[in-house]
């Protein structure tokens, strides 16, 4: 009889422990939504970024760039400020179109999600609002220790009909704060393309959102194809003032380089 009770208690304990071992789909989506929401601003968003690309046997590529976002309308614009030779070059997302502009030629070109931004190993999605829950289907992998941090590990697969730079992701999410600490991106074939680390998460109060807005203070991207290449993204300033109504247009971007 005693052993029967012991067995029942053990089974109940195991059953109770199950949610800690594996997260179901709704929990995963809730987690992704939380990650998306905290990085999404209700109003406008502007950030000054520093990009640095290191490659073997090549001079460093260094850029300063301003990111403009109007998350309510899914609008994004990247505008390069430094070095001088890059000033006025930009990227503009309008609907499903991604445009690049070069003031040297006065030309707009339609481009793809896979296009490298400013000669670095970054993509449009590194600077846009987070849409993990909208764009990917998650599955739970397990728990893992990353340095001193306990993390939840998730696999994400892109939903059908959505164009992203990498269709398969693996995320290491801090259990305590629910911030992404590590992100691996894979091609459809399963080949690992990039490993990114997010060692600094910053938050500031947004008037328009009436809540805290989170952003990664630093992203370190390691190229998994060309192993000696790496990219650093630093968020220097974040400005949450309202932007011009006509800012996310070709005409506005062109006007910045006149």
């Amino acid at each position: 009889m005693r052993s029967f009770f012991l067995a029942v208690i053990t089974l109940l304990a195991l059953a109770a422990a199950r949610p800690a071992l594996a997260m179901d789909k709704s929990e995963l989506l809730k987690l992704l939504n939380e990650i998306d929401d905290r990085q999404r601003n209700g109003g406008d968003y502007k950030a000054l970024l520093y990009l640095e690309q290191k490659e073997k046997d090549k001079a460093d590529v260094v850029r300063e760039m301003v990111v403009y976002r109007r998350d309510a309308d899914d609008k994004l614009m990247l505008l390069f400020a430094k070095p001088k030779s890059e000033e006025g070059k930009g990227v503009l997302r309008l609907d499903k179109n991604l445009w690049t502009y070069d003031p040297g030629t006065g030309k707009w070109d339609r481009t793809t999600e896979r296009e490298r931004i400013g000669g670095t190993n970054t993509r449009r999605s590194d600077f846009d609002e987070s849409r993990l829950a909208d764009e990917f289907d998650p599955s739970f992998v397990g728990e893992e220790k990353l340095g001193k941090f306990e993390t939840l590990v998730l696999d994400l697969k892109v939903k059908p009909g959505i164009d992203v730079a990498y269709p398969v992701l693996k995320l290491w999410i801090d259990k305590a704060t629910h911030n992404i600490l590590k992100r691996q991106e894979f091609a459809l074939s399963g080949k690992l393309a990039r490993t990114s680390y997010y060692p600094k998460w910053q938050k500031l109060f947004s008037e328009s959102k009436k809540a805290e807005l989170w952003f990664p203070g630093e992203i370190r991207i390691f190229d998994e194809i060309e192993k000696s290449n790496s990219t650093l993204v630093l968020f220097k300033t974040v400005d949450l003032q309202s932007l011009d109504q006509n800012m996310f247009t070709k005409a506005w971007l062109e006007s910045k380089s006149r």
């Binding site: 000033e87 499903k96 000669g119 600490l181």
Partner: protein, 707 residues
């Protein structure tokens, strides 16, 4: 002298006496003939290819940085373009190398490639409309549009709007067909609604109230529905165009004009212009005409049948180029020509392009006379500005605008894809695209890095450094202010404008900057090796850090082709002569044994061994000279016949190796002399052993044999 005469008499008599000698002679004749003809052909091929390579891109010698990771390969290697280190002290190098006695001049160069997107027809037309509206608003990028009167601008805007509306009608018709086949659920309702909106008069009536908004709607909702954008890989050589035109005298400008001295500009390789930039239907008509003029028949030639089929099915490029008025005009003209009442232009064009051997000429003539004036035959017209986007050395994308002044080709190499696919660009634009980090730019980047003070984290230690003990990941931030006016000063634009506004560069400015390689033209090509050695010595003495290589080495795999064939020839000749030696040796042994009695008798009546040896060897020499001579004569005859007739290039690629449409082979006296020497050496060597046997025949044995 009398002894030599006697030996020659004996040799002549024996020559005709034995049929074995005729076999040996035949072998000698065939070997010599082969050597003269194949050797002559290879020499001619080598000379032709040298003319092609030297005359089109390489010059006699190429120099490049000795710090380069790869070897120079002008036509690309197995792994794409070689990685060459930049030559940064070109003026000093040019001065030093041009100081050498045999050097005529040094032409700076650098080659690269870029993908250029022509954009789909809607993108291109909308861009045209955007530029016209910008010009009307007084902010034209294109100075030609800025010069137009308001009336002229309005007329062009109106025509372009009509063109866009006609494209929308075509897209609507496509959508209707697709809906009939695919059912509603397969088509994005947003796409259907967008097309519906822009097909309404209301959209166009309100267009001018918000032209930028209307344009963006068309650009973002309608243009992506057309997926006919074409990517073209453009290969170009950046050079001092003026010097290039003078040094490479086979280069000829075909359309347009040369780029004015010292100015930025682009010359498109004519073959590339025709193959890649011409309207595909027109290009296929040209090819059909060329092929049928050379005796090929559409009725029996699979490739020509394919051209006709593609012309019939791919008429969209033409239909989308026409506005409503031109569509009506083209339809009327085609109805009259085809005697048809079909109102559908696509169907009419499909019937029109159903060309046969009988109607091809008439239809091609009609196309060029009646339809071509209504459409753009080329994606880029002479005088247009071409935007070239390329990856810089650092991996960033850099774009430049260059004016297209014309097209060019190299005389005799008009059809060669190897010589006809590389266009020419001014050196200043090339340097912009190459993205070499100047001292100023490097300092600016260094300052940016110092101001930011970012720490380097290595891949191996990343996780420990970023997430190890002491790491905190969350921090409070304070909002900052990003002032656009301070951040974007317009300095980049001003820098570009200062540099680009109709500037004429001096020779010194063109030469002072980075180049990747340079062609060295020499006064006496026969001194090539000595000059290469002299340049390499000079580089060491003056610390120029350059390496000089011959045109052949610089052409990479291409340059090795002749060396490969020459190797094959040498092996083949060695093989043939090896077999010939064995046969001649055996035959001579037989001939010698047949003459045992004669030689024995000669020895009995006092002939010395040396006389017997000389006799047999003289016979061989006479045999070699006689049949080898006939072989040389026959070979020379064959070569003269080939020279007169010419060997036609079997395909376009062979144009480059033949240095023109026909190879006109020549045979050199040097080749003939070598052939004779080799054949005599082989004959003498093969006869040496039988001759020694002959000297050992004793009179006694000869008499015993008789008994």
């Amino acid at each position: 002298m009398s002894r030599l005469g006697m030996l020659l008499q004996i040799a002549w008599r024996n020559l005709l006496a034995s049929p074995i000698n005729l076999i040996i002679g035949g072998l000698i004749l065939a070997g010599t003939l082969l050597f003269v003809v194949v050797g002559g052909l290879l020499d001619s091929l080598n000379d032709s290819m040298a003319r092609s390579v030297i005359g089109s891109v390489a010059g006699h010698i190429q120099i490049y940085s000795s710090k380069s990771k790869d070897e120079l390969s002008l036509f690309g290697g197995m792994g794409g373009d070689p990685e060459l280190a930049a030559v940064t002290e070109f003026p000093r190098i040019k001065e030093a190398v041009e100081g050498l006695e045999n050097v005529k001049e040094v032409v700076p160069m650098g080659s690269s490639g870029a993908l250029i997107t022509a954009g789909n027809i809607v993108d291109v037309t909308l861009e045209k409309l955007r530029n016209l509206i910008k010009a009307r608003a007084g902010s034209a990028d294109d100075p030609r549009l800025a010069r137009l009167t308001p009336e002229a601008l309005d007329a062009r805007i109106s025509a372009t709007r009509r063109h866009v509306r006609q494209i929308i009608r075509v897209l609507e018709a496509d959508q209707k067909k697709a809906l009939a086949i695919l059912k509603d659920q397969a088509i994005d309702p947003d796409v259907v609604a967008s097309l519906e909106k822009v097909s309404q008069d209301a959209f166009w009536d309100d267009f001018d109230q918000d032209p930028w908004g209307s344009l963006e709607f068309l650009e973002n909702k309608i243009a992506p529905q057309v997926t006919d954008a074409q990517l073209m890989f453009l290969r170009y050589l950046g050079t001092d165009l003026d010097q290039f035109q003078q040094s490479f005298d086979r280069m000829q400008v075909i359309d347009g004009t040369p780029v004015p001295k010292g100015q930025r500009g682009f010359l498109i390789a004519k073959l590339f212009y025709e193959d890649q930039m011409k309207l595909k239907n027109a290009r296929r008509l040209d090819k059909l005409r060329d092929a049928t003029a050379n005796g090929r028949l559409i009725a029996s030639d699979d490739e020509l049948k394919r051209f006709v089929k593609e012309n019939r099915t791919q008429t969209r490029d033409i239909v989308l180029q026409l506005d409503d008025l031109k569509t009506a005009e083209a339809t009327t003209k085609l109805q009259a020509f085809l005697k048809s009442t079909d109102p559908d232009l696509t169907a009419l064009l499909s019937t029109f392009f159903d060309t046969t051997d009988e109607n091809l000429e008439a239809r091609a003539a009609f196309f060029y006379a009646e339809l071509a004036p209504m459409i753009e035959l080329y994606k880029v017209r002479i005088g247009d500005t071409l935007t070239i986007k390329a990856f810089t050395r650092g991996g960033a994308i850099q774009a430049v605008n260059v004016k297209v002044y014309g097209t060019f080709s190299f005389t005799g190499l008009e059809k060669s894809p190897l010589a006809g696919n590389t266009s020419l660009m001014d050196l200043m634009s090339f340097r912009d695209l190459y993205g070499y980090l100047t001292v100023d730019k490097a300092e600016e980047i260094k300052r940016l890095q110092q101001d930011t003070g970012a720490q380097t984290v290595t891949r191996a230690n990343a996780e420990d450094e970023l997430f190890g003990e002491g790491a905190t990941i969350v921090a409070e931030a304070t909002a900052g202010i990003i002032d656009e006016d301070k951040t974007f000063t317009g300095v980049g634009r001003r820098l570009r404008e200062d540099d680009l506004v109709k500037r004429v560069y001096t020779d010194s400015e063109i030469n002072s900057g980075v180049v990747l390689n340079a062609a060295v033209m020499v006064k006496d090509p026969s001194q090539l090796t000595a000059t290469i050695e002299a340049i390499n010595r000079l580089s060491e003495e003056k610390n120029l850090s350059i390496k000089a290589v011959s045109w052949q080495q610089a052409s990479g795999i291409l340059g090795q082709i002749i060396t490969f064939f020459r190797g094959v020839l040498i092996l083949a000749v060695l093989f043939i002569f090896g077999i010939a030696m064995v046969i001649i040796n055996n035959a001579m042994m037989m001939a010698t044994l047949q003459r045992t009695q004669t030689i024995g008798t000669m020895r009995a009546i006092g002939a010395q061994r040396s006389l017997v040896l000389t006799m047999v060897l003289t016979e061989s020499v006479v045999l070699g000279v006689l049949f080898g001579g006939v072989g040389i004569l026959l070979g020379t005859g064959v070569m003269a016949w080939l020279h007169q007739r010419g060997i036609p290039a079997p395909n376009d690629v062979a144009y480059f190796f033949f240095s023109g449409p026909r190879l006109l082979p020549d045979v050199s006296s040097g080749n003939l002399a070598i052939a004779l020497v080799i054949i005599l050496a082989v004959t003498l060597f093969s006869t040496l052993f039988p001759a020694l046997i002959a000297t050992r025949i004793s009179p006694l044995r000869a008499m015993q044999a008789d008994e």
